[in-house]
């Protein structure tokens, strides 16, 4: 077991150069963006002198290596800088907005898995049946309808026409007060303090955007589950298991499904990462105060600190995600050990 612990810490160490690389690249890229934040902040009436003064205040008059050194120094003390557009420290901006995005993403991922994986398994066990066709239709519809469109349709039907859903305006209806922030996830925070009416309200707000995202992410998961199950079911060891008289359920789950899980987990990792990036549109449609819309707004106004903070946070998240997936792999498949070299 200590060997495995050592292997895991080695694997974490391997992530360090990646993070350093991300710091450098995010710094360079944000500097390479067109547009001068000093001009933007000085306003339309500014003259040369005031622009120069603002540029000096922002530290933009120094050379890139100098700016980088200052940036890294601040980073090490936990200071991600101040967002020019919100006026808040980037760290606190991210601390409130990242959980919002994560909550949305995770809930929709769970929803997508809960539908897509059983659907894929059923479709694989009965190829050519109605459930297989349903799977195909859902997959095609899911990938071909853009999220902002599904989002708007859902709002129109469930909020405007039927009135089931609350107004699509953020994470919580204005009559409720946000639960005290522990994790930043409203569902968890509300549950911790036992405020179930807030919990239900937060859930109601979540349903439509999460469904929108889930419809989109369902497609790759269902498709991969079906393909992986089909190949697992045609494997030789399934025939052995059947020839030994094992029950259909055992064959399907203990033998086929566990073997099919590996590609499904890979897909989940990929889906999760592009969801975090791609849910900007959903956040916009549902006025969700997430990190995606924050980053886009910051990018538009060349808000260096905010963009850098966003890229860095995402990179760390992805590194953690990949690590998690690697760990899950080694749990599922004994053939994948950590090569301790």
């Amino acid at each position: 077991m200590s060997g495995r612990l050592r292997a895991i810490s080695l694997r974490i160490l391997q992530a360090v150069p990646v993070v350093i690389g991300v710091v450098v690249i995010s710094f360079v890229l944000t500097r390479a963006l067109p547009g001068d934040p000093a001009v933007y902040f000085a306003g339309p009436a500014a003259d040369e002198a005031s622009i120069a003064q603002i540029r000096k205040e922002l530290g933009l008059d120094r050379s890139w290596p100098e700016q980088f050194a200052i940036y890294v120094g601040a980073l090490l003390s936990g200071d991600l800088g101040k967002s020019l557009s919100t006026g808040q420290p980037v760290l606190s901006d991210l601390a409130t907005r990242l959980p919002a995005s994560l909550e949305l993403t995770l809930v929709s991922l769970l929803l997508a898995c809960a539908i897509a994986i059983p659907l894929g398994v059923l479709a694989a066990t009965r190829p050519g049946s109605w459930i297989d066709h349903l799977c195909r239709i859902l997959v095609t519809a899911g990938v071909s309808l853009p999220t902002f469109f599904t989002g708007v349709v859902l709002i129109y039907v469930f909020y405007y026409l039927l009135g089931f859903a609350p107004s699509p305006l953020g994470r919580l209806d204005f009559i409720y007060i946000a639960p005290p922030a522990t994790t930043g996830f409203y569902l968890i925070d509300a549950a911790i303090v036992g405020d179930w009416s807030t919990w239900a309200a937060a859930l109601r707000q979540l349903v439509l955007p999460a469904t929108t995202l889930a419809l989109f992410t369902l497609a790759p998961i269902a498709r991969m589950t079906r393909a992986a199950m089909l190949s697992a079911l045609s494997a030789d060891f399934i025939r052995t298991a059947r020839a030994a008289g094992l029950r259909g359920r055992t064959v399907l789950f203990a033998y086929a499904f566990r073997n099919a899980l590996l590609p499904v987990v890979t897909t989940l990792g990929m889906v999760f990462s592009f969801m975090l990036g791609a849910n900007v549109l959903v956040e916009k449609v549902f006025a969700w105060p997430g990190v995606g819309s924050y980053a886009v707004e910051a990018l538009v106004v060349s808000d260096y600190a905010a963009v850098q903070g966003f890229v860095l946070a995402m990179a760390l998240l992805f590194v953690a995600l990949n690590l998690l997936i690697d760990l899950i792999y080694s749990l599922i498949d004994p053939r994948i050990g950590f090569s301790a070299q």
């Binding site: 045609s234 030789d236 060891f237 030994a244 090569s339």
Partner: protein
């Protein structure tokens, strides 16, 4: 005990229904071992899947009956069948590693069966599983209980598969090519074990195999299948000693065995006089103290530990050994796909070992040394037609223009006996023998002096193997090539080779003229290889 009457199995495919098994009738008595032999596609496996009712999707029994001990297997409910499988009738399969769940410990897999058939409870399962492993002579079974299939050798995996099959004491064991893909000494060990267990437990068995020698050695009665039909049944000695059906005769004579000649493998009407060969010349290839060491997790792996041999101009040398003996590594180094760690590969007076493998593709000597690969299917690009596959080396390494290339490809097709219309087909549209011909045509396209044949017939049926071996002999005589023939089958090596080099664990244990080595091996390992080879049926009286 088991009786099949006019059993027919049909598969629904995209190109219409295919009758895989056509009114097969077989009988099996208690304690009897029946061999079902035939070439690929003869329906021998499908017959057994049908009676177990584990046919792949699209396959169904369309006519006939299968009755086992009074139970109608065709009409029994799925629940009843699931109770019969594993408890009354069990199966073991070819390719044992793939036949086991890769991510479940072997002990658990045995437990699954025990518990399914109520032979064990959660408390006793582990002890009984270990007992089942001991029954198939697995040493240190308690430790192996926790092993995953990838941690065990092929022979050990097959023992586990046997343990799963026999865990619930079935009355009938169906072994579907149980030793295909295993080394010859492992094959003997596994077959002896199966035979012993069958005798001990007084079981009946069906052995499905393409290997006549194996069937002759281990079965009481034989059924010969061809194109979904049983063409002949009878006691082993009768079927092979005096085959009644022309197809059985063809199979028996195509099986390489002691005393057989290369031409003798072919059906009588196809036998031409053996080609005249030029006298052997000076050594064309000298391998000197060749070594290859791979870095491994647990220290370096010495795959080849200093082998030396030579091949004379026009000579065919066999390189024989079991898997892991270093024969493939050695041939990969000679064909310059792999750099040796040390040693010399002198070809026509030049040391090839000094030319890095990575750059050898552009070397002028590349055209001189070519290779025919083991798996005729996997070594062809599935998206290239035969013509494109054969053209590839010509385009890369010959100065011929498009028209001259096209003429050369047609000439090559004639040379290897590939009908011209097949040149525009893709590999999946060709039979195994035809694919082998494409592979050979590609290898000889540049008129190499030296050809490495890496088990070129291992995946082929015996009748196709006979044709390909004869083709290789003809080409050798016609084009004056030297061969290095890599194989695990001494009987095949004897037919084609002048000399043989026997390798074991990276070293050469014996080399010499092939007849001498076969008749009086000096090394005990060679002797054990010869002993392990199943005795093919006695030669036909007609010959």
């Amino acid at each position: 005990m088991l009786k099949l009457t006019d059993l027919s199995v049909r598969f629904r495919t995209r190109r219409g229904p295919v009758d895989a098994v056509r009114s097969v009738s077989l009988e099996l008595g208690r304690g009897e071992t029946l061999g079902v032999v035939g070439e690929s596609g003869s329906g021998k496996s499908v017959t057994s899947y049908a009676l177990m009712r584990i046919l792949d999707r699209g396959g169904e029994i369309v006519a006939g009956d299968a009755v086992y001990g009074g139970v109608d297997l065709r009409r029994a409910s799925e629940r009843a069948m699931a109770d019969i499988r594993g408890r009354e009738i069990s199966m073991i399969f070819q390719n044992p590693r793939a036949a086991l769940n890769p991510i479940r410990t072997v002990g658990r897999q045995i437990e699954d069966v025990l518990r399914r058939h109520s032979r064990a409870t959660a408390q006793t399962a582990r002890r009984k599983a270990i007992k089942a492993m001991e029954a198939v002579r697995i040493q240190d079974a308690a430790a192996r209980y926790h092993a995953y299939p990838f941690e065990l050798s092929g022979g050990m995996c097959q023992r586990i598969v046997i343990a799963i099959a026999l865990a619930c004491d079935p009355k009938l064991l169906i072994a579907d090519e149980p030793t295909t893909g295993l080394d010859i000494t492992t094959q003997k060990a596994v077959m002896d074990l199966i035979a012993e267990l069958i005798r001990e437990r007084d079981m009946s068995a069906i052995l499905i195999t393409h290997d006549l020698g194996l069937a002759a050695q281990y079965c009481d009665r034989i059924a010969v299948m061809k194109d979904g039909e049983v063409v002949e049944t009878g006691a082993s000695a009768d079927v092979f000693g005096a085959p009644a059906h022309a197809y059985t005769r063809k199979l028996v004579s195509a099986t390489p065995r002691d005393g057989a000649q290369l031409r003798g493998l072919l059906p009588a009407e196809a036998r031409k006089p053996p080609p005249a060969r030029a006298a052997l010349g000076a050594p064309i290839l000298e391998v000197q103290e060749l070594t290859k060491t791979f870095p491994g997790k647990a220290g370096p792996v010495h795959a080849v530990k200093g082998v030396s041999f030579d091949v004379r101009d026009g000579e065919t040398v066999g390189l024989v050994g079991e898997s892991g003996c270093g024969k493939s590594t050695t041939s990969a180094m000679i064909v310059r796909l792999l750099d040796p760690t040390s040693g010399r590969i002198v070809f026509k007076g030049e040391d090839l070992a000094r030319r890095p493998a990575a750059r050898f593709a552009r070397d002028p000597l590349r055209a001189q040394i070519q290779m025919v690969f083991q798996d005729a299917t996997d070594s062809l690009n599935p998206r290239h037609t035969s013509r494109q596959s054969i053209e590839e080396p010509l385009r890369r390494l010959s100065p011929l223009g498009a028209r001259a290339r096209s003429a050369r490809i047609e000439e090559l097709a004639d040379l290897v006996g590939l009908p011209q219309p097949l040149l525009d087909r893709f590999p999946h549209q060709l039979s195994g023998g035809q694919k082998a011909r494409v592979g050979i045509a590609r290898a000889i396209a540049l008129e190499p002096r030296f050809l490495i044949l890496d088990e070129p017939t291992a995946a082929l049926d015996v009748s196709i193997q006979a044709i390909v071996l004869n083709l290789l002999a003809d080409l050798r005589a016609k084009l004056g090539m030297s061969y290095l023939f890599v194989s695990h089958d001494l009987h095949v090596v004897r037919l084609l080779c002048d000399r043989v080099v026997v390798m074991r664990a990276g070293e050469i244990v014996e080399q010499g003229a092939v007849e001498e080595v076969m008749r009086a091996p000096s090394d005990p390992y060679t002797q054990s290889l010869l002993d392990a080879a199943p005795r093919p049926p006695v030669a036909l009286a007609a010959e």
